[in-house]
């Protein structure tokens, strides 16, 4: 009841804003979903609206947000990456192990190197070898996970990286460091996508690879770099993962690939590539975070939570789809 009452004025205001902008705001449909849902929760749940909880949502979703930034770039280029989870877990384990034997900086470099190497191999196979992204990254995830389990005997590796723990769990006043890291990665991604030729080419090869090739766009290097960037983002996510618990856990992060892909799709990136905006991905990341948090606070049974999450995703995507139809120029 309450919820419905709360939505009506918001929706009316939104529609009015949209009408006033000749439909341009419709492109931000996913933000509307996020705002509406947040407002509903703010109204119905006192524990949701505490500053600590709200910032907590930011903290907990920053890691996946960073992974999704990488996924966004790969998906716009016309691919995607199923090995981000394996990369994240491996990076956290490698960094944990290295932090026990070497200075922290070396441990961080070692963790990121995992992403760099796996991303580069993916990139070569997909961009140069022309093997499809599904096969390549699916196989790569197996290979990497297998090596990881063999190397660790499936046992967690305890790290010694207090700085990473601070990064993952610490706060500057109310603002979590993890969220600052996320914003930094998002800013870099935004800059690369919209202010560099490489980013422009990522869009163009995703839109029409052949036409880009014939126009002199370096399609292979562009897509290769997209996968390297994706690998690096996944590895950075792995470092945060290590920071959250202080141990490198080989069996962690298995849900990253599909969640990150889902985030991008909810944020408006088609699986065929060629388009997609960072702001959509950010909104989608936060949307998923708000849903999870809200369900927990409302004491929704853990069994039914996935159903609710799935339903909300479907609604968000539907709203977005309708928005796009109304957007001008379609």
């Amino acid at each position: 009841m309450q919820a419905a009452d709360a939505v009506a004025p918001v929706w009316a205001a939104w529609s009015k804003a949209v009408a006033g902008n000749k439909g341009r705001l419709w492109r931000y449909g996913i933000w509307a979903a996020l705002i509406v849902l947040t407002l509903i929760l703010v109204i119905v749940s006192p524990s949701f609206r505490t500053p600590f909880n709200l910032t907590n949502i930011l903290q907990q979703n920053s890691m996946l947000g960073i992974v999704a930034c990488g996924m966004l770039v790969m998906m716009i280029s016309g691919g995607f990456d199923l090995s981000v989870g394996a990369v994240g877990a491996t990076a956290s384990v490698v960094a944990a192990w290295a932090s026990g034997h070497a200075p922290l900086a070396a441990a961080i470099v070692a963790g990121l190197a995992v992403g760099l190497v796996v991303g580069a191999v993916n990139g070569i196979l997909i961009a140069k070898g022309g093997i499809n992204a599904f096969m390549t990254t699916f196989a790569m995830a197996s290979v990497v996970t297998g090596l990881l389990f063999a190397g660790t005997n499936a046992a967690p590796v305890t790290g010694n990286a207090p700085a990473l723990i601070t990064l993952a769990l610490g706060r500057a006043g109310q603002v979590p460091y993890a969220f600052i890291a996320y914003i930094a990665v998002a800013a870099v991604t935004w800059f690369l996508l919209s202010r560099t030729k490489w980013g422009h080419y990522v869009y163009s090869i995703g839109g029409n690879r052949e036409a880009s090739y014939l126009s002199g766009v370096p399609v292979v290097t562009t897509q290769f770099a997209a996968f390297v960037f994706g690998g690096l983002c996944a590895a950075f996510g792995g470092l945060l993962l290590l920071g959250q618990s202080g141990i490198g856990q080989p069996s962690s992060a298995t849900d990253w690939p599909l969640t990150a892909i889902a985030i991008c799709v909810i944020g408006g990136v088609p699986l065929s590539g060629g388009e997609g905006r960072l702001h959509g991905t950010i909104a989608a990341t936060l949307l998923l975070g708000v849903i999870t948090d809200g369900l927990n606070l409302l004491n929704v049974s853990a069994y039914i939570q996935p159903t609710v999450t799935g339903a909300v995703i479907l609604i968000a995507v539907a709203v977005d789809k309708i928005s796009r139809r109304r957007a001008p120029g379609r």
Binding site: K197, G207, A211, S212, S215, G216, V217, E275
Partner: protein
């Protein structure tokens, strides 16, 4: 003087199929060289080699005397070769400006959308094409003709030493065509050598100084354009004479381009196949509005008639065609099929109701380039039957093979991927596909874009035969001679609505041009 471009003994095979067998070509600076040949002769393959798109060609290429190896598009660009491709090589999601500048954006690492737009606008200005392209619009929202302009602009702005134009006029209306020729002459005057490919033999003879004829991937003739006429050119292309073309020769002299003479096809005699008076029209539309600008369109297509739809680029013809088959929603108005009111929500529903569309852009809307020809050809027939999936692969292949034989698709290989056919042959596949669905009314949007003279005459016969069999055809074409030759009635569209109707036999070219352009200037987008 050293030739600007020299190609010697160029060969190229796909698997064990030799597509080019020792082609040689020489172009002086400032020369406009015509390249003609039947669909599938190898013209586009030669173009692609020059563009650096087939690294595995045989033979040598020299530019200004020095041998070059064209291993990639970057190589080609570095040696000053620019190409306008037959089928659009644009990125649909990017803006027109982005496409024009693609691959040669200013700056090294960083880039600003604004500077790209400015650079594109400047280049358009110098090319005399300012305001002909909406620079900020995404290419996928543009009509085929405007996309063609983008493609032309893209190549013209590269400051090339050699410029290859592969059928740039296949989708252009008269005004654009003249503008393009003027641009070509301007570019040639700067010393650039141009290769011009077209199936409009009249315009090839007009525009070029020398020409080369290809047949089945081999050189068959070359010489001064002045020494050829459309008849001798056709004979050289086909290796035989084409009866219909003789008539064209005469009309060509008047119009400057090839087409079938008005009256070249017998109109259906009123009494026989034509619907008896009183029976409802096969397709009747009342007060249609939709898309960006189509409004208040009423028309009828009766059994046994070809209704021509003339109009400038941007007059809304393609949108109307899409509305008729349910691909673009109707905002207002109603449709009747055989007198019964229908509401078509999709092309599939239209097929069931007996309406099929041949779309204007075969590459983007028509053909599934990755599927074999056989599947492409039966696609619509399947959607039309409503038989849920259970069709024997054997019978499908049989249908497909028959169609490939009927329409003389080259090569006659039902298993070849749709994208591996030459442009004209893809067009035949798309047309065959629509006709195989056995529609009562065929809506054909530019059905002869890019097909050679022989095939064009054949498609014209097919269209008249459909009418002869009591079907209706709504024919959209930029080729006024084609419209005049085939239509029983002609409708003229302007700014989204039908402004006049004339009987096909009574209409003249001047009358049409007048009706199409009166008052309103041509707009940029559809």
């Amino acid at each position: 003087m050293e030739p600007r471009l020299e190609m010697r003994d160029i060969t190229k095979s796909f698997g064990d199929v030799a597509v080019l067998r020792g082609v040689s070509l020489e172009l002086a600076p400032g020369e406009i060289h015509g390249l003609v040949g039947q669909n599938g002769a190898g013209k586009s393959t030669l173009t692609r080699i020059l563009a650096g798109g087939h690294a595995d060609y045989g033979g040598t290429v020299r530019i200004d005397g020095s041998p070059v190896r064209l291993g990639s598009p970057r190589d080609a660009a570095r040696h000053g070769i620019a190409v306008i491709y037959q089928d659009f090589s644009l990125v649909p999601q990017l803006s027109a400006a982005d496409n024009i500048m693609l691959g040669s954006e200013p700056g090294r690492v960083t880039f600003r959308a604004k500077s790209i737009r400015q650079a594109a606008a400047r280049l358009l200005d110098t090319a005399g094409m300012a305001d002909t392209i909406p620079l900020d619009a995404e290419v996928r929202t543009l009509s085929a003709a405007v996309r063609q302009r983008v493609e032309i602009a893209k190549a013209l702005t590269r400051n090339a030493r050699v410029l290859v134009l592969d059928e740039p006029t296949a989708r252009l209306a008269d005004a654009d065509r003249e503008r393009l020729f003027a641009l070509m002459r301007q570019v040639a005057a700067r010393g650039t050598a141009l290769i011009f490919i077209s199936h409009f033999l009249g315009e090839v003879l007009d525009v070029t100084s020398r020409l080369t004829v290809l047949r089945d991937g081999a050189f068959t003739a070359s010489g001064q354009a002045a020494d050829f006429g459309t008849t001798s050119l056709t004979t050289a292309m086909l290796g035989r004479e084409l009866a219909a073309v003789e008539e064209e020769e005469a009309s060509d002299k008047i119009r400057g381009r090839a087409a079938v003479l008005p009256g070249g096809h017998p109109r259906t005699p009123d009494a026989t196949a034509r619907t008896a008076p009183g029976t409802p029209a096969l397709l009747a539309a009342t007060g249609l509005a939709g898309g960006r600008q189509v409004r208040d369109v009423s028309l009828a297509v009766h059994g046994g008639e070809v209704v021509g739809l003339a109009g400038l680029v941007g007059s809304g013809r393609s949108t109307l065609a899409r509305m008729l088959v349910g691909a673009t929603p109707l905002r207002e108005g109603s449709l009747r099929i055989r007198g019964k009111a229908v509401r078509l929500r999709s092309p599939r529903a239209a097929l069931r109701a007996g309406l099929a569309l041949v779309p204007e852009d075969r590459r983007a809307q028509g053909l599934v380039t990755t599927s074999p020809a056989s599947e492409n050809v039966v696609l619509m027939a399947l959607a039309g039957t409503g038989r849920a999936g259970i069709v024997g692969p054997r019978s499908l292949r049989k249908i497909a093979r028959e169609a490939i034989a009927t329409y003389e698709v080259r090569p006659p290989d039902a298993d070849l991927g749709g994208g591996a056919f030459s442009g004209g042959n893809q067009q035949k596949l798309v047309l065959a596909r629509a006709i195989l669905a056995n529609p009562d009314v065929l809506v054909a949007d530019q059905p002869t874009a890019g097909v050679d003279v022989g095939t064009k005459a054949q498609i014209h016969t097919i269209i008249r035969d459909l009418a002869g069999a009591g079907k209706g055809v709504l024919l959209i074409s930029d080729d006024l001679d084609e419209l005049l030759a085939l239509s029983d009635r002609l409708l003229v569209m302007r700014s989204g609505t039908v402004v006049s109707e004339v009987a096909g036999t009574a209409a003249t070219r001047d009358q049409l041009v007048g009706a199409m352009s009166a008052g309103t200037p041509s707009t940029g987008t559809r």
